[in-house]
């Protein structure tokens, strides 16, 4: 088990290193240097060169790459050429909000998808199964920003029970925190729940034909009892895989939903940095998003041996 962990961790570190090279290279490929962008189109070449020298942009790219990576390892993401402020605190604030939204969303999505998917499988030839199937079809078709807008119209503007936008940190009071969280999380989670419901349904259907459920029934379980006790855990294996992939989609989806609900998440920062042509900040945020996806997937990987003894090393 420790060997498995070490191997996995090492694989992710290598992936992160490779990703950092790609992110850095992409930013270099953009036309115009950061100094050019900061000074605007009117700037003289001399002024640009002077600023490049000041920021150290005239040095060869490997030097700048390692300086960037080395800085990140010390939680220094550099300074924005546009605002002149350090980038790290901006990212740190943003990623906290985004991760809270994303993790809450996947939790809600799974909490909806697992029972709904299992019911859809159990009642597949009865009306309930058809209703769940149709609902998940609709859910997949509705994009999360549209769901967000609809939710705002109903619950914020219509019923006036929840705030339409904004964010409250947990220290500002859990009630406020939760009430600001409900609508964006629902908007994100509904789509994910719809997708996951379909996967849960097919995973449960697949498991329902397994011999060990018959063994459990022969020993005295009811059909449903055998499925709940023995089937769901087996069905969880493919569902976890899909949920892991969906986490990345959720991080990206959060960028859009943060715009709709005016959340101070990393997505909002990314949009702002892009529109300001703040390349250093974009580079830092993209890198952090990549790292977030990797970390979340690492956690998902750790779940496999917890669920399935067959993948435990040396077991």
């Amino acid at each position: 088990m420790p060997g498995f962990l070490l191997n996995r961790a090492l694989q992710y570190l290598l992936t992160a290193a490779a990703a950092s090279v790609i992110v850095f290279a992409l930013m270099q490929l953009l036309p115009g240097s950061a100094a050019q962008v900061a000074l605007g189109t009117e700037a003289t070449p001399e002024a640009v060169r002077a600023l490049e020298a000041q920021y150290g942009l005239d040095r060869p790219w490997p030097v700048r790459y390692f300086e960037w990576v080395g800085g990140m390892l010390h939680r220094d993401f550099g300074t924005s050429y546009v605002t002149g402020a350090p980038i790290a605190p901006v990212i740190a604030d943003g990623i906290q909000v985004t991760l809270i939204v994303v993790i809450a969303s996947i939790a809600v999505a799974l909490a909806l998808a697992v029972p709904l998917g299992a019911l859809a499988a159990l009642y597949r030839s009865r009306p309930l199964g058809a209703v769940i199937g149709a609902a998940s079809q609709v859910g997949i078709a509705v994009p999360s920003f549209l769901a967000g807008i609809l939710l705002v119209m109903v619950f914020a503007l219509g019923l006036r029970v929840l705030p339409a936008s904004g964010w409250a940190a947990p220290i500002e009071g859990l009630g406020a925190f939760a009430s600001h969280l409900v609508l964006p999380v629902t908007a994100l989670a509904l789509v994910q729940a719809a997708i996951l419901t379909r996967y849960v349904r097919s995973a449960v259907l697949e498991v329902m034909g397994r011999d060990f459920l018959r063994t459990a029934r022969a020993a005295g379980r009811t059909r449903t009892g055998a499925l709940v006790r023995h089937g769901l855990r087996s069905a969880a294996i493919p569902v976890v895989t899909v949920a892991g992939v969906q986490l990345a989609a959720l991080l990206v989806g959060a960028v859009v939903v943060e715009q709709v609900f005016v959340l101070p998440g990393i997505g909002s920062e990314l949009v702002r940095a892009v529109s300001n042509r703040d390349l250093v900040t974009v580079q830092g945020i993209v890198m952090v998003l990549v790292l977030a996806v990797l970390v979340l997937n690492f956690i998902v990987d750790l779940l496999y041996p917890v669920i399935d003894p067959r993948v435990r090393r040396g077991a």
Partner: protein, 666 residues
Amino acid sequence: MSAPLLRVASLRVHAGPAELVRGVSFAVAPGERVGLIGESGSGKSLTAAALMGLLPEGLRATGDVELAGVRGNVLTRGERELARVRGRAAGMVFQEPMSALDPLMRVGAQIAEALVLHGAQRAAARARAVEALAEVGLPDPAAAAAAYPHQLSGGQRQRVVLAIALANEPRLLICDEPTTALDVTVQAQVLELIRTAAARPGSGLLFITHDLAVVAEVCTRVLVMHAGEVVEEGPVGRVLTAPAHPYTRGLLAASDLRAVDERGRLFTMATAPAYPAGGAAAGGAEGTAARCGGGAATGDAGGTGVRGGGPETAQEAGPEAVHEAGTEAAPAPVPGAVAGPASVPSAQPTTEQSTGSSSVLASELASGTVAGTVAGTAAETGPAAQDSPARTSGAGEGTVAAIEVRGLAKAYRRTGRGILSRGSEVTALAGVSFCVAAGARFGIVGESGSGKSTLLRILAGLEPASGGTATVSGVDVVGAGEPALRRMREDVQVVFQDPFASLDPRMRAADIVAEPLLAQGLSTAERRERAARALSDVGLSAADGQRYPHQFSGGQRQRISIARALAVRPRILLADEPVSALDVSVRAQVLNLLTDLADRYGLTLVFISHDLGVVRHLCRDVIVMQGGRIVEAGTVDDVYERPQHPYTAGLVAATPDLARALARTR
């Protein structure tokens, strides 16, 4: 007589309008061990499942089932009520031990669960689970309780399933093909365990199987099912020696691998009327063929430049090597068979070693001149020889043996999980040497994990070896390049075990059969003509060629597999358990077909099986493999009658034998 444990009256199982079980009635009394036999589709498994409300979804049972300890008709009970009965009134064991246990749960917990479901305290159940594992004979019960199913072998898993079934001490034990997927030695142990369980006072057994020998070993009374009905019922000794119903007689005849008709072929359902009643019990009246490998080695005139004989290599053959001088090639070419219509050759000279005169024939052949002539004939008339004159390279070299294997080794590297860990090595084959003469029928027997299938895949060029040489049809497949392998595959074809998985479901039978001909660059018309020939050779019509695999039965699919292999007119046919997925009646037909075709085309047949009986019937020479090594080699009669290696002796003793079992019941 006390009240029966189980009484079934006019049980019917419906699938929509269709009736799969059509009014089955029987009873199991305390102390009785009742066998339910029949072929696939006979409804025997559905009958068992219906008794406990475990029918697959969409099926519905009607009738009357009374079970000791349950009030009223079991079939009218709801799922919740039935669940309370299952495991306590009757325990059940199913066929597939590999998938019958929850892979994510410790074995002990699964047994404990069965106890808790029927009211035991959790802690007591856990302790009782360990005892139960000891009772089913697992060596270290405490360790086994903490193990996950994947850490146990198939036999161990079936013991665990049995422990679950017996956990609540049900009086009735229902076993559905409990040992079909197990190796024979393991099967013998599990059967013993089931017999012991059934011998508990006041208890009874309902045992479902397709294997007559197993039913004779386990049961006292037997019911024969066919097409959803019980066609015959009675004491095992009577039904299996003096069957009253033609179907029973057919089953009995088809499953007897020691009895052959006047053509040396196995009895089938169709030829069963000629089968002598009680033939199995009489058993063992076979002529023993003389070993002729040594004799052939002296006749050096025979094989020069001819592919049929095998004298040269015999001298080099190591102690493990089995060598044969092409005696089986002798009757192969029926004149005109190559060009003529695909009729099954009827009055053939003695092709089987089991016929009385074969020892004479064999000894005649052993003298070099006869062998040489015969081999020459085979080479001239064999279709493959005609088609590929270019491959008769290096006359006088060691190309006379169809297959020559020297010190073959195969090690798998188990892939490491991560980027840091190196995989460990697993030895699949070690120092395997043998020799198969052209035209011979050569058996390879062994249990799972013995390396027999790996060996076949290497011979077929489907998998690389890690050491040694394996010359198949003149090509050393170890280290041969793709062009050489491609050339070899025109000579060597494979028939695989699973007739359901080895055919592309989206291709028509004729296209499946014609596909290997593409590699030979034949024209469309030629391909079509050859495919049609191959299909008719295996007894399928041209119309069959236009159908898809799912429209065929298992036996027919295996015929398509054989036709596909024969279409390229190979000289060597490698068969990996080709009949082990088939019902006995179909098995007899397919084995007869293989014999006919091997005779007609002078095929060299390498036949892999876990079933000693099948190899004994079909082959003359056999090697016994265990753990990647050959532990014994010789003629089938020597090896089976006088096994030298304890492993072989154990294998022979463990193989269920109808005659032996019946002798015991008398």
